[in-house]
């Protein structure tokens, strides 16, 4: 039995080299059994990554315009298909959710309304859901 190869010896436990935990990004996405405020944190991470991905896809989609008029027609067909409209709704959810929660983070993070940060989350997310429903209907009908 030998001491392991970890770099640092513990001062409180002489002769022992504790196992370091390393950077654990999975801790950003574990909302279950956690406080509701943590859901806001997860929402912002997930939506943020989603929006970055959207940005890339947006560039790809716009590049269709280089294909002239035929390219433009293909583009319109693609972007008005039900699948794409659904993705648009998901995108809208991400924007509204990330945006409104971001508003909460900006307020609380500047030291304002800190005692109401949980209530703020509930209120803003309710508004988000309402806006999303309206927006979703508009996307599919307009």
């Amino acid at each position: 039995m030998t001491t392991p190869d970890y770099p640092s010896e513990s001062k409180a436990y002489p002769g022992q080299k504790p196992r370091p935990r390393g950077r654990d990004v999975s801790r950003w996405f574990l909302p279950f059994k956690r406080d509701v405020s943590y859901w806001g944190f997860v929402l912002n991470r997930v939506a943020g990554l989603g929006l970055v991905l959207y940005l890339l896809l947006h560039m790809v989609a716009l590049s269709q315009l280089l294909g002239g008029e035929a390219g433009w027609d293909r583009f319109i067909d693609l972007t008005t298909s039900p699948v794409f409209l659904t993705l648009d709704v998901i995108l809208l959810a991400g924007i509204i959710g990330h945006g409104l929660n971001g508003l909460r983070v900006a307020l609380v993070g500047s030291g304002l309304l800190v005692k109401w940060q949980r209530q703020l989350f509930y209120v803003l997310m309710t508004i988000a859901v309402v806006l999303l429903i309206i927006g979703g209907i508009l996307i599919f009908t307009a």
């Binding site: 039995m1 001491t3 001062k11 409180a12 436990y13 002489p14 002769g15 022992q16």
Partner: protein, 391 residues
């Protein structure tokens, strides 16, 4: 640097207040000190202490020796561990005629043992402590305090480490090495790496609290340590600013200690054989609520936060009434009592007097090893407990 002492190595068994204070005193005098503790520091008796820094007034009538010890150590600890304790004093409250009858004896006891005190009427006491029972007739203020035992052990050990001591938690003594009638070291089990190895020393100190008898038997000797548990209940809410004691002969549930946002009622007393795991008797818990409520009616009604029990290491013979066993300490030099060299047991006592216990023990050790090394722990200010993790 005491070159005489540094020639000798001492192994201390037990990382509670006794062991920690002994290790600190040894290291301060220049001995090569190693301390082994089978769990986390203060995970035995000391950790689950009532956290009361005794003024000694509790013993000033029936056990004046103990009382004088306490008030002296109380003052010393304030000096060597500054900014580590709630120092709002304590009140001894009388809520009935029997208590009032005890009061003159109490006051006399304080006078004789040199404990500073101040008398208050029931009304004045209730102005100081609004949650006190309406039945409070009178009260006497004494310099009680509140400390945290684990942090105290860590303060002793941080200082000891600074002076060169080696502190090994999660290291359990499995046996003692002997050469003839001399203890030469211990066979220890590293519970983290799950391996056994040997530690040798010129002298071994048995400071294992209620387990002192188990350790002593490894050297073939017996020590009269009786594990004597008591129940304590930490209640939600800081219902008193000062320690509240009952003005009577020491009895169960007659102290309420405030700590942060809680009030801790204690304690009771019974004997067990095995101190490793002790079931908490429900009737003792109810007794705490009931007795505590006699002084602060709310305290038995708020939600309990933590209910705990641990065995005190009292010195006595088994079968003797627990309350009769004196809470003084004793250092056994086994060369004198049992013809076993190189082995000293220190047992009994209370955390408030840990430093004094260590002074006595290390004086005995210095004598045995014929080393000229006076005790300096009365005046040496301890390092912060945080340094335990950093040195």
């Amino acid at each position: 640097m005491n070159t005489q002492a540094s020639k000798y190595s001492v192994l201390v068994i037990g990382g509670g207040s006794t062991g920690a204070a002994v290790a600190h005193d040894l290291a301060l005098r220049g001995f090569k000190t190693t301390l082994v503790e089978r769990g986390e520091i203060a995970s035995g008796t000391t950790g689950r202490n009532h956290c009361l820094l005794h003024s000694g007034a509790r013993y000033c009538v029936k056990d004046k020796e103990s009382a004088i010890e306490c008030i002296e150590e109380n003052m010393i600890l304030r000096k060597i561990m500054p900014d580590s304790m709630e120092l709002n004093g304590g009140l001894f409250v009388a809520v009935n005629d029997s208590d009032m009858a005890y009061m003159p004896l109490f006051i006399e006891g304080c006078e004789e043992t040199g404990i500073p005190y101040k008398q208050y009427t029931g009304e004045e006491a209730r102005r100081l402590e609004p949650y006190l029972s309406e039945k409070t007739l009178a009260a006497v203020w004494v310099p009680d305090g509140v400390f945290e035992p684990m942090r105290m052990c860590m303060a002793f050990l941080a200082t000891a480490k600074k002076n060169g001591a080696l502190v090994l938690p999660y290291t359990e003594v499995k046996g003692l090495h002997m050469e003839g009638n001399r203890v030469t070291g211990a066979r220890v089990w590293d519970r983290i790496q799950k391996r056994e190895y040997d530690l040798y020393a010129d002298l071994v100190v048995n400071a294992a609290g209620p387990w002192a008898e188990n350790i002593a038997r490894m050297a073939g000797v017996d020590v009269p340590v009786v594990p004597t548990p008591g129940v304590m209940t930490s209640m939600t809410g800081r219902l008193c600013q000062r320690v509240i004691n009952r003005m009577n002969v020491s009895s169960d549930g007659d102290i309420i200690v405030p700590q942060r946002q809680t009030s801790i009622i204690g304690t009771s007393s019974w004997t067990v054989d095995d101190a490793d795991y002790i079931e908490i008797p429900e009737d003792h818990v109810q007794l705490m609520y009931q007795r505590g409520s006699e002084m602060i009616p709310q305290v038995g009604k708020v939600k309990p936060r933590g209910i705990f029990v641990v065995a005190r290491p009292l010195i006595g013979r088994k079968g003797q009434d627990e309350r009769e066993i004196a809470r003084t300490f004793e250092a056994f030099d086994h060369a004198v009592s049992d013809n076993v060299e190189g082995f000293v047991t220190i047992s009994g006592g209370k955390t408030t007097t840990a430093r004094a216990m260590a002074e006595t023990t290390v004086n005995v050790i210095a004598d045995k090893l014929d080393v000229e090394a006076p005790c300096q722990t009365r005046d040496t200010v301890l390092l912060s407990y945080r340094d335990y993790y950093l040195i």
